[in-house]
Subunit: 140 residues, 4 copies
């Protein structure tokens, strides 16, 4: 079988990504080592202080990270992530996340993800580390 | 007005914590600088690899962190968090998170959160940094 | 007194930076929110495995971070740093670090630092958070 | 050859740890998954603000981490570290670092290190991740 294109790899992952659909995370673009997704902050995403729960900002960033680090068609899992919350997300905001590979050596990668709102303001900076497994996302 | 007890502070936060109720995160215990919560991994929490989405493990840990760092009745927000994923969570697992204050100086705190499954196996290690604001959780 | 140029701020810091001189860390360039420095890995910088001690790679990155986050002529201290070691440094290598401001809001900043060797290979990725104090580096 | 004791593993590492001797880092104790070391902050360890350079606090913590994660007599390298600086170190302070294994699964480990001064005040919290290689520290 021919190797799948990176768009096919992204589409295959997205087809079975239950959480992404449940939370309304849309896949905008995927390239080798890169992905962009967005999500509207719904009212059920408010924490006890009335702003977007940091866990859901993280989930958007982490999901985008997954599409970037799996774009090589090798199953990769997050091993460690860190996030800096620089500005709160408000209910009704549309948050976009952009993931860019910084380094990939052997099976270990480092990815930076920026989360911004609809005005282009920075909401969070995320750095994720990934480890590839032996499986392929789309078997060839 | 008398200062609220730590249980009253936790109950006040939980009453308006829409995300926690939406995701089924239950509050088990809150003490000064400490909180414990748990969550069942539902089938909509699966990522594209069929295991619990790391973002939801993070959200459980981050929520527990919030109750621990707000337990002093001073509104505190997460500024930065990091998580190490050491073992995957499976659909149907019941994950527990336990947050313990490591340091609080002025308005800045550091908290460690351990996430384990129903067998007591370690799922993730989380460290969060918080900054207190001027508001109180329960005004006195 | 006129506000100092960013080069004067960097030169003032470097003049009193005892550790930088002791370790042979040279200041190549400083601009607003940016700095570049380099250091030769001397034989006393070997750890128990015979490669450059990670603490000294960190120190080079952390020093470069300091020049970038103090470039606004406001004294800033590191509050939290993380480093990923992607390739070992060898004795005799000349390591360069380049720091770039990612975000500065109020008195809190986030900076990314890349450490490379003389062949341009990536050695480490560092992310640092800073907090400005009330003092100026060069009083005006 | 009989398996070495954990003290013999620590002594073998320390014997060839050039940086530790150069910086005056002393090894107090090593047990399985645990190590304690200390270092006096000398005047050449001052940064441009006159306090102990964060890179050297990191180096003390990172060194102690190395003895803890190599205590199983399997060569282990740091892959990723993060440090929170909670209080400055002063010239003349004696800083102690204590490393404790939090998790070891397969060849990957997570270790927490606390750095305190001679008054028992917390100076820094460090978390390090390690990966074991195939070599032994003391061949058996």
């Amino acid at each position: 079988m021919a190797a799948p294109t990176v768009e096919e790899v992204g589409a295959a992952m997205y087809g079975r990504d239950i959480t992404a659909h449940w939370l309304g995370i849309a896949l905008d673009e995927v390239r080798l080592g890169y992905a962009r997704m967005h999500m509207e902050v719904k009212k059920e995403m408010a924490n006890g202080h009335g702003i977007c729960h940091g866990g859901l900002i993280f989930t958007l960033a982490d999901t985008t990270f997954a599409y970037a680090c799996n774009s090589h068609n090798q199953v990769a899992l997050a091993t460690s992530c860190m996030i800096d919350f620089v500005s709160p997300g408000q209910i009704g905001d549309v948050l976009a996340a952009e993931a860019q590979e910084q380094h990939l050596r052997g099976r270990f990668g480092v990815y930076d993800i920026r989360v911004t709102n609809q005005k282009g303001e920075l909401i969070a900076l995320f750095r994720g580390k990934s480890a590839q497994l032996k499986d392929q996302v789309v078997p060839t």
